[in-house]
């Protein structure tokens, strides 16, 4: 139990297959130390904002990895005199010109400040961090399931695994569903039916798995959605890789603040995740 706290390969334990996030050979390392960079571009997608950030010296991130971002100026002085700590964001896309895209939803002082940034403004960036997605196990077709701002890591993953991927996205309403434009060809569900299927994205998932359960699920979104996906996957014995969230102070394993409970105890999401196998929960 306790051994899992340091993370590392012990965690797999009773799981049907080893947890790749913990054993995977492919983890792109972050340069040591945060880098001062610049915002190049920003675009709106309904309530969401995509910022494009220069990162000429950084490596190409793995899909599912994340970065810690800090505005170079006025990081502090927002609501409750915050933010103070950096904030974690999944990489949305990495471009050949050495720029990175991030998808932001303004939910508090940190995201609010980052959403304010204009082209030319400075920000600090640490990453890529954590353990990303791993390819589907043999003869399983990938199904990508996203909710709200949680679609971010699915975009770069869809780019990587290509046409094969079926993508199902859930949003509150049509306005939020504008975010779906980031993943062409995705099927959409909205809570209020104002666009696409009326209901939960997990309904679409169930339907898909009904036709053919030989799939591997890649999911990112709000807690309740991920729990629903995990339940479905575990009941059918289908592997599901969940890109999870938790409050983070450091992003590189220093503070032990970001733990999530797994069947093997608490693991630090920033180093043993953010992608966690549903079977491990």
């Amino acid at each position: 139990m306790n051994t899992s706290i340091e993370g590392g390969s012990e965690v797999a334990g009773a799981a049907e297959y080893r947890i790749p996030v913990l054993s995977s050979p492919t983890r792109t390392l972050a340069p040591f130390g945060r880098r001062l960079t610049q915002l190049k571009l920003r675009r709106e997608y309904g309530p969401y904002r995509v910022i494009t950030v220069d990162d000429p010296d950084g490596p190409r991130p793995d899909p599912g990895q994340f970065y810690m971002l800090t505005a170079a100026e006025r990081w502090g002085g927002g609501e409750d005199e915050r933010p103070f700590l950096p904030r974690a964001f999944s990489v949305l896309r990495a471009h050949d010109d050495g720029t990175l895209d991030f998808l932001l939803e303004d939910v508090g002082p940190g995201t609010n400040r980052l959403c304010e940034l204009e082209p030319g403004d400075g920000l600090h960036l640490l990453g890529p961090l954590g353990q990303g997605f791993t390819p589907p196990r043999e003869n399983r077709r990938p199904i990508l399931v996203g909710g709200g701002v949680g679609i971010a890591p699915l975009a770069i993953w869809a780019d990587r695994i290509g046409a094969a991927a079926l993508t199902l996205l859930g949003f509150r309403d049509a306005v939020h569903a504008e975010g779906a434009a980031l993943i062409p060809g995705a099927r959409i569900a909205t809570d209020d039916g104002s666009q696409g299927y009326r209901g939960l994205v997990t309904d679409l998932l169930n339907a898909e798995l009904g036709c053919d359960p030989r799939a591997e699920i890649y999911a990112c979104g709000p807690g309740p959605m991920l729990e629903a996906v995990a339940t479905i996957a575990n009941e059918l014995g289908i592997p599901a890789q969940l890109a999870m969230e938790s409050g983070m102070a450091c992003g590189y394993g220093a503070c032990f603040g970001c733990v999530v409970e797994t069947r093997d105890g608490y693991v630090r999401l920033c180093v043993d995740g953010p992608v966690i196998e549903a079977a491990a929960l």
């Binding site: 306790n2 340091e6 040591f32 800090t70 005199e81 700590l85 938790s246 590189y252 733990v259």
Partner: protein, 304 residues
């Protein structure tokens, strides 16, 4: 090169216990971590006799200029640590200081004795912020309690013993004096101040899984300055000063007050290389204004 408790160090900046995990950092940054290790010595997170999983999440709360943590000292326990972590930490390019804690005096003795035997370890830091299960007193908050602890522990300490004091006490100077008289080789301060936050979504409920937590970062710097100064004026022991240090200027302030080493904690969360930057800034300042051996400040009224 400087010397601290007989250990030779490249500079005066170390990490604060529990705020940098060299093993996890190596997973994130690879060997680049070793090429440019930010600290002159590496201080481990607290190790206890039995394994601890730590507190339930959420474990973090952000404050204006700081944070509260209720991590709950997760660690593998002595056996697991000796087996798995110590060998890996032995590979670090800098001396290793192991931080230990126990809620029974016998536990502390066993921890101190065990680590004293290991060559990977250059010094021990004793975290006394926990209650003594027998007396119920926080071991480091009461001079008599600390004296009694040190009297049984010091004979087993085969390495320099640094007492990591708690700021949640009436008189840090009295506690430091007890540490000095009862055989400690150095003191380090400040640890986190007890604090808590309410859950914004559940009125009346605490946010942190552990209920209360410890406050750190710039928000505690003013308190750290006065406790370090108070201690420095009372004891001749070497002092490791910490609490909200973000810049070489902050580190230099502590040096001016008489701290021998300066530890960087929360600031490393904002940048893993913060320690290196602060060491460079401090070096530049020490060149410009050499720090005084003794603090220049006179005794002061205790009334506000």
């Amino acid at each position: 090169m400087i010397e601290f408790c007989g250990i030779r160090l490249d500079h005066r900046i170390v990490n604060a216990s529990g705020t940098f995990d060299a093993i996890a950092a190596r997973r994130a940054f690879g060997d680049a971590l070793f090429d440019d290790f930010p600290f002159a010595a590496f201080v481990s997170k607290t190790v206890t006799l039995a394994p601890r999983q730590g507190n339930p999440p959420p474990r973090l709360w952000e404050l204006p200029g700081g944070m509260i943590n209720s991590i709950g000292l997760p660690n593998k326990g002595l056996a697991g640590y000796l087996r798995e972590d110590l060998p890996r930490l032995g590979e670090l390019p800098v001396p290793l200081i192991v931080n230990v804690m126990g809620s029974r005096r016998e536990d502390v003795v066993r921890l101190v004795a065990a680590f004293s035997e290991r060559d990977e370890v250059s010094a021990l830091e004793l975290n006394v912020s926990c209650p003594n299960v027998k007396t119920g007193l926080i071991m480091g908050a009461d001079p008599r309690e600390l004296a009694a602890l040190l009297d049984v522990v010091v004979p087993h300490a085969g390495k320099p013993l640094i007492v990591k004091m708690t700021p949640n006490c009436a008189s840090p100077a009295d506690v430091a004096a007890a540490a000095e008289q009862h055989g400690a080789d150095a003191v380090s301060l400040i640890n986190t101040l007890r604090g808590m936050a309410m859950d914004p979504h559940r009125p009346g409920e605490p946010w942190l899984g552990g209920g209360t937590g410890g406050v750190s970062g710039p928000a505690v710097r003013a308190i750290a300055l006065s406790q370090i100064r108070e201690v420095r004026e009372r004891v001749d022991l070497p002092v490791v000063g910490m609490g909200g240090v973000q810049t070489g200027g902050h580190a230099h302030d502590l040096r001016e007050l008489g701290a021998d080493l300066v530890a960087v904690g929360t600031e490393s969360f904002r940048d893993p290389l913060a320690g290196r930057r602060i060491a460079d800034e401090l070096a530049a300042l020490e060149h410009a204004f050499p720090a005084n051996a003794a603090p220049q400040v006179e005794a002061v009224p205790q009334w506000h």
